[in-house]
């Protein structure tokens, strides 16, 4: 099956289950997630190798985007430097698996791949913890610039200390074979896909559990108002450093898994544009949303490979698209920000918050309504559209999205 029918089928079935009438909402949500998971488990047996590798990359990018979303979406700290954390994780994994480039005090022996992924996350978490402290004093554009500096400096440092990192050539190392009990059932690509899927599902569950609990509430409270959070007894500095650490841990694990699926790493494996794309990805996908992180990651993979080509065919500008896919990608980012400020996840959440009893009268009244002065929405439906997507779950606003309506444009930045 091609990737597009596959994705359409997956999202379609899962979406229908999600909005099925009568059944209690809680069951519908669980069932639609189960459908998603079932489709994802089926994916390697129906997609070709190229698409399977794309799916692996989506899983890895989703982890980085999720980490960044924890920091930026939930905690309000902007980072352009998550590519550096991811690269740190990749190199940690690579050096440990290579076995020959290790420091003398470690046995020069290749580590098992799963251990290197955990260590990669740990090393990145320590780096994030250490960077969290200077980040405490920086906010907004200052923090964005400082993290941009990080992602530009890191490859220079890697190239400089080449006896350890392989310099500009980077490192090559064997990818892990399927474990004995799966021998014969899965080939290497399929096994790697399931490795990515398992890691991603585990990390998403961890994030979900973390973010709905006291820690996640504290992240959001600090994002919305540090002063109010402090007044409620939250240790603001501690919460912000925690967010940085958790976020870097996710990027590090993503890097560790990335090393497994590529089998090689160079200082350009995660370049500056890629690092910037993680931020643009979560903004398009949806801030302060786990689903938004995954959607953003999928777009990061599919826009250069497919969406650019499709747009190019439609507009008849194929040369731009084949030579400069970034042009389409950047333009898409700008358009989404202007047209869909809540991101795709936000738009989807709004759609899901529509209720049948509110939609049906509109559909029935459509022909008559269009005949006169355009389409007129009855009051209840416009209410359903206007509702803040995050208000339903008792959350406060996503990062930086201040109460413009309430306080007027001038004060919106406070």
């Amino acid at each position: 099956m091609g990737i597009w029918p596959f994705l359409a089928l997956m999202l379609g079935v899962s979406g229908v289950v999600r909005i099925a009438p009568v059944v209690p909402q809680r069951w519908r949500v669980l069932a639609s997630l189960a459908v998603l998971l079932a489709f994802l488990c089926w994916a390697p047996f129906t997609l070709d190798d190229f698409r399977l590798f794309q799916m692996q990359r989506i899983g890895v990018f989703a982890l980085t985007c999720l980490g960044l979303n924890i920091l930026t979406g939930y905690n309000g700290q902007i980072s352009l430097g998550h590519g550096a954390f991811m690269l740190l994780g990749t190199y940690t994994s690579a050096v440990l698996m290579d076995g020959t480039k290790q420091m003398s005090f470690v046995d020069a022996q290749a580590w098992p791949f799963w251990a290197t992924i955990i260590v990669a996350g740990g090393v990145a978490a320590v780096a994030g913890f250490l960077l969290g402290f200077p980040a405490l004093r920086l906010s907004g554009p200052y923090l964005a610039i400082a993290t941009l500096a990080l992602v530009i400096s890191f490859p220079i440092i890697i190239r400089k200390y080449s006896e350890f990192t392989g310099g500009a050539q980077g490192l090559r190392f064997p990818q892990p074979p399927p474990p004995p009990f799966l021998e014969g059932l899965l080939d290497r690509a399929e096994w790697l896909y399931f490795l990515v899927l398992l890691t991603a599902v585990l990390m998403v569950l961890m994030a979900w559990n973390l973010l709905r609990g006291p820690v996640g509430r504290a992240f959001v409270a600090v994002r919305d108002s540090e002063i109010a959070a402090a007044a409620m007894g939250i240790d603001v500095a501690r919460v912000k450093v925690t967010a940085f650490t958790v976020s870097a841990f996710y990027a590090g694990v993503a890097g560790g898994v990335f090393a497994q699926i590529t089998g090689s790493v160079t200082p350009e494996s995660v370049d500056i544009v890629q690092s910037i794309n993680f931020l643009t990805g979560i903004v398009i996908g949806g801030l302060a949303s786990i689903a938004g992180s995954v959607i953003g990651a999928a777009l990061l993979v599919f826009i250069p490979s497919d969406a650019a080509r499709i747009v190019g065919n439609l507009l008849g500008i194929e040369t731009i698209v084949t030579r400069a896919p970034g042009a389409i990608q950047g333009a898409a980012v700008i358009l989404v920000i202007i047209l869909m400020p809540y991101g795709i996840a936000g738009a989807a959440r709004r759609l899901l918050s529509l209720r049948w009893e509110a939609v049906l009268p509109v559909l029935r009244g459509l022909p008559a309504g269009l005949g006169r002065q355009g389409l007129r929405l009855p009051g209840r439906v416009s209410w359903a559209w206007e509702i803040r997507p995050w208000a339903r779950r008792g959350q406060a606003n996503p990062a930086g999205r201040k109460d413009v309506e309430k306080s007027g444009g001038e004060m919106s930045r406070e």
Binding site: P134, I145, I152, I156, I276, V283, L287
Partner: protein, 314 residues
């Protein structure tokens, strides 16, 4: 008695070769004036719209590549420098009207992401149009990079002296514009309080467009001045932009004199680090080291040396 200290350096230390030290300082001031121009561009936009334009460097890269094409077509190199600034002006105005205007007043993150999107678009298009064949490309200078001017204490290349002179002249002109003309007054008023400025009959929208145009014009000029030194490739403005960010942040993002002082300081520090860093660090580490220095300064003064903390209403 400083012998052990001298051995730490890659080059002969200043007290043994003051000529080299002087040359490096003047060369640093020259590149510093370019950083100051870009830093001024950043500060101009930040003061008037609270936006940090991450695409500033890529816009300059774009205009510089366009100038390179004109150079191949045989345009005089002095004219190129002027055209670079003019093309920058036009590009800045278009960008403000088309891309920035729709997100005005939107949350900080949206605006940052829009400028990042612009970054990716310009970078990608420039790579497609110009980055074929041999890279980096050489960019012409009206003066020589090899023939030097004797300043008495140091010999510096003609190009560096010209860059320094042009940079300082432009800064003086800008200061005059902002302090002694009605237009400058209107622009300052817009930056300070758009609502009040509008009530006084100032066309705020036009002032913002003009601010972006000026800023991109400064960037275009800076690109054409630094390109002969750094050579031309799609990423050549990236490190310039970082040094300019460092300069602007060092001086304080909302301080105009801060940007100038910061630019010169970063230029000199960068050049001295490149010359005198010991072998185990190496000259290629000057960018990370400069940025480390910046972070250290920020830890002591989070809004830069001349910057002021905005008073926040809770």
């Amino acid at each position: 008695m400083f012998q052990w200290l001298g051995q730490l350096f890659l080059a002969p230390p200043p007290w043994e070769n003051p000529q080299l030290f002087g040359e490096q300082v003047v060369a640093g001031l020259a590149t510093g004036s370019v950083y100051a121009l870009v830093a001024l561009a950043i500060v101009l936009i930040y003061r008037s719209t609270d936006i940090v334009n991450f695409a500033q460097g890529e816009m300059a890269m774009f205009t510089t590549f366009a100038m390179w094409s004109l150079h191949l077509a045989g345009v005089n190199t002095w004219v190129l420098i002027v055209l670079a600034a003019l093309l920058g002006l036009a590009l800045g105005a278009v960008v403000e009207r088309v891309v920035i205007r729709p997100v005005e007043g939107k949350p900080e993150l949206s605006v940052i992401v829009v400028t990042l999107g612009l970054f990716v678009v310009l970078n990608s298009v420039a790579t497609w149009v110009w980055a074929q064949g041999v890279l980096p490309k050489t960019f012409p200078t009206p003066l020589s990079l090899l023939e030097s001017v004797n300043l008495g204490f140091a010999r510096v290349s003609q190009h560096h002296v010209a860059v320094l002179a042009i940079g300082v002249a432009v800064m003086v002109a800008l200061a005059a514009l902002f302090n002694y003309t009605r237009l400058g007054l209107a622009m300052r008023a817009t930056a300070q309080n758009p609502t009040a400025a509008r009530l006084m009959g100032i066309n705020v929208g036009n002032m913002l467009t003009l601010g972006w145009a000026l800023s991109a014009g400064l960037g275009g000029l800076a690109g054409a001045l630094i390109a002969p030194i750094t050579f031309l490739h799609p990423a050549f403005m990236l490190s310039v932009l970082l040094y300019a960010f460092a300069a602007a942040v060092l001086g304080g993002l909302n301080s105009v004199p801060g940007a100038v002082v910061g630019g010169f300081a970063i230029g000199v520090v960068e050049n001295l680090l490149g010359t005198y860093t010991p072998d185990w660090l190496g000259a290629e580490m000057k960018l990370p080291l400069t940025l480390l220095l910046l972070v250290l300064v920020l830890l002591v003064r989070p809004t830069g040396i001349f910057g002021t903390q905005a008073v926040r209403r809770v």
